[in-house]
């Protein structure tokens, strides 16, 4: 018993040492956001001065949070909807153009983000979706599709065929089979996809920068970027750190909350490579 415990010590030392390194930046940032720094709203002592700066900035923190939440929810919904149906199609159906469409979807990963945005901006204008949070969500959802479709495809493939067939035999159409049998089976995959879409939409900066031109509609990352560089060359480190905290906390919470399902999504999808 003792020798086994000793034998494991290095393991725990390495694991714990790495854990400290992984946690340190997050902890430091949280601490720095409430501690005193010259040139910030928190000149002395500990306090929430930097958060107050954030709260009152321009259209106000709540507005930005609301916009971010709306964009994230829309993006998650769009991503889930499209990738659920698409993943089902790719996993269980044969249809003309299937491989081409799948490869095209994956190819989205290979295009530099910034370049597509200008044409997308023009295009959204034509669709009357410019400067709209829905338009932004459509674009963000598109960038989620490679991962989401891939993930949902393998999630569906991992569901035993017999399960679906028995539902079909029971008189369900494919839609009924999808809803009654397949949907519960791929739920972990959906949670993984949804979480990823949320993280991406919540944190994205460049797409809203180009696509949204109204402070009232700006999501939080844009406001934090605005706040960072104030008058010529002066940087408000405190407000930046507070902004990072406000941006990160919902993501961290959601991740912790969904963690079990999320890991299972990876496992059950059994990423085949």
């Amino acid at each position: 018993m003792l020798t086994r415990a000793l034998g494991r010590t290095p393991h725990y030392v390495v694991a714990a040492g790495l854990a400290v390194i992984f946690l340190f930046p997050l902890v430091w940032n949280a601490w720095a956001s409430v501690s005193a720094q010259p040139g910030t709203a928190q000149e002395s002592g500990y306090g929430l001065g930097n958060y107050r700066t954030l709260l009152d900035y321009d259209a106000g923190l709540w507005r930005y949070l609301g916009n971010s939440a709306l964009v994230s929810v829309l993006t998650v919904a769009l991503t889930l909807g499209v990738s659920l149906l698409g993943g089902y199609a790719f996993a269980r159906f044969e249809f003309p153009g299937k491989n081409l469409l799948f490869l095209l979807t994956l190819a989205i990963l290979m295009v530099p983000y910034a370049t597509l945005l200008i044409p997308l901006y023009v295009l959204l204008g034509r669709l009357h979706l410019q400067n709209s949070l829905l338009g932004l969500s459509l674009v963000l959802a598109m960038f989620q599709l490679p991962f989401a479709t891939f993930m949902m495809r393998i999630s569906f493939e991992a569901v035993p065929r017999e399960l679906e067939e028995s539902a079909l035999v029971d008189g369900c159409g494919t839609a009924g089979a999808l809803r009654r049998v397949m949907l519960p089976a791929v739920r972990p995959g959906l949670i993984t996809v949804g979480l990823f879409a949320f993280l991406a939409a919540w944190n994205d900066f460049i797409a809203p920068l180009i696509l949204i031109s109204d402070s009232q509609k700006a999501p939080l990352p844009l406001a934090v970027a605005n706040l960072r560089q104030q008058s010529m060359g002066a940087v408000d480190y405190g407000a930046t750190e507070a902004g990072v905290v406000v941006l990160a906390v919902p993501c961290l919470l959601l991740f912790l909350l969904l963690q079990r399902h999320y890991v299972r999504g990876f496992m059950s999808g059994a990423l085949k490579g």
């Binding site: 023009v122 809803r179 060359g233």
Partner: protein, 437 residues
């Protein structure tokens, strides 16, 4: 997911998608043909005051000058029927934002711009022609001419000054006293500056002589060029297509800075300073004398006893870089008269004195250099008066040559000051090539 919508969802989506596809397909052919006429409302109504009829106007500004723009907009909205909706864009991304919007004729009614980028916008016809309106202003002659010049293209005027930001020397009077220097005698020549910086630096104990942003092209332009101008030398040709940055005067300036680096007169971090924090060093009270943006004067700690002086040349003289933002009406705006109402008001006595000067900012009119607010702080008068001696360089390729962190000017700066300065001629050619690109 409704209960029966299985395949129907996709069908509807397909239909919507097909419509979208067609709409989008037309764009590829459609956006090739730009709509040509963008003359704006140049001389239709040369009414100097514009129209105040309760219109809603949109306006963009960059984050760096948000406080100034916001103060003006707030005061205007409070006293007029027109309402301005101000949108602030991150400073580093302002070009990207304007560029994206310009491509699809989607600019706001009014947009401000870092004055050095204005030529890009005037030559691309993004601004409406304001020539007659500007000339009709009773105080037209006393507007900051360097901004007006930067916004003049083919003889037409497109912008007016919005916020002014000048480079001036800040010096720490406490440190001057400790170093047995006269706190009322700031440097009058580059040699003075060199001597005084070294004297302060000799105090030791974490005190340094001077500081500059050594990895920041914009900082170099803003703080080094005034010394060259003050020495009577040009840095760019008139068209902004050629550089003269390897002149004897320029060399004297670089040599002085290189001496500071070599002898460690500069506060730590100058070599890596990308411009993000360069103004944060002086307020800590450990630097003797350095060039700073005039807009930071109001932000300095109250207990810091600082003096302000013009940036001198190698053998005297004085100059400044008149930076900041200029503002114009976009060529696609349908509310030129209303937008002009704001611009004309923003330059009037009331706005300039009770908004701009009250916030300790530099007024856009030389005839208001001395006003009731600046009277309380002689340093402000000194800065306001400098506007007339200052310059705003004009070059179409300014940003990509001088501000771009990967552009040729930053390489030149760093070679000249951190290297041995031997490659000046070659570097100057690279700058010229970029300007003429």
């Amino acid at each position: 997911m409704g209960s029966t919508t299985g395949p129907r969802g996709p069908v509807r989506r397909l239909a919507v998608g097909a419509a979208a596809f067609l709409a989008a397909a037309s764009l590829i052919t459609a956006c090739g043909s730009g709509d040509g006429d963008s003359a704006g409302g140049s001389g239709r109504t040369a009414d100097a005051k514009g129209v105040d009829d309760g219109a809603t106007l949109t306006m963009w500004t960059r984050a760096a000058t948000r406080p100034q723009s916001e103060a003006l907009v707030k005061a205007y909205n409070a006293s007029h029927k027109n309402k301005i909706e101000l949108t602030v864009v991150p400073t580093d991304d302002y070009q990207a934002k304007v560029g994206a919007a310009a491509g699809s004729h989607d600019l706001p009614d009014l947009f401000a711009s870092d004055v050095v980028f204005v030529p890009n916008y005037t030559t691309s016809k993004l601004f409406a022609d304001l020539t007659e309106r500007i000339d009709a202003l009773p105080f037209a002659a006393s507007l900051a001419q360097s901004h007006i010049k930067a916004g003049t293209y083919e003889g037409r005027k497109y912008v007016v000054p919005h916020t002014l930001d000048l480079s001036v020397l800040f010096y720490n009077k406490d440190l001057y006293r400790k170093a047995a220097l006269d706190p009322e005698k700031p440097p009058a020549t580059l040699a003075d500056w060199d001597r005084q910086a070294r004297a302060v630096d000799a105090l030791g104990g974490g005190v340094d002589g001077t500081f500059f942003g050594g990895n920041c092209g914009g900082c170099g332009v803003f703080t080094w060029w005034p010394s060259i101008w003050a020495g009577g030398e040009e840095v760019l040709n008139k068209e902004g297509t050629g550089a003269n940055l390897d002149s004897a005067t320029a060399k004297k300036v670089y040599d002085t800075y290189r001496g500071w680096v070599k002898d460690d007169i500069v506060a730590p971090g100058a070599r890596d300073e990308t411009g993000a924090t360069w103004t944060g060093v002086f307020p800590k009270g450990k630097v003797g004398v350095m060039p700073m943006p005039s807009t930071t004067l109001g932000l300095m700690p109250k207990n810091l006893d600082l003096g302000v002086a013009p940036i001198p040349g190698p053998d005297g003289g004085r100059s400044t870089f008149v930076g900041g933002d200029a503002v114009g009406v976009s060529a696609t705006s349908r509310k030129v008269d209303q937008a002009w109402n704001f611009l004309a008001w923003s330059l009037g006595d009331e706005a300039q004195v009770n908004v701009v000067a009250a916030h300790k900012d530099v007024v856009a009119r030389t005839d208001l250099a001395a006003n009731k607010y600046s009277a309380a702080d002689p340093r402000l008068v000194a800065i306001n008066q400098l506007v007339a001696d200052g310059r705003t360089p004009y070059a179409l390729k300014f940003g990509q040559t001088f501000n771009d962190p990967n552009g040729p000017w930053l390489s030149m700066m760093r070679d000249a000051v951190f290297g041995d300065g031997a490659s000046l001629e070659k570097d100057n050619k690279a700058v010229t090539a970029s300007l003429a690109d």
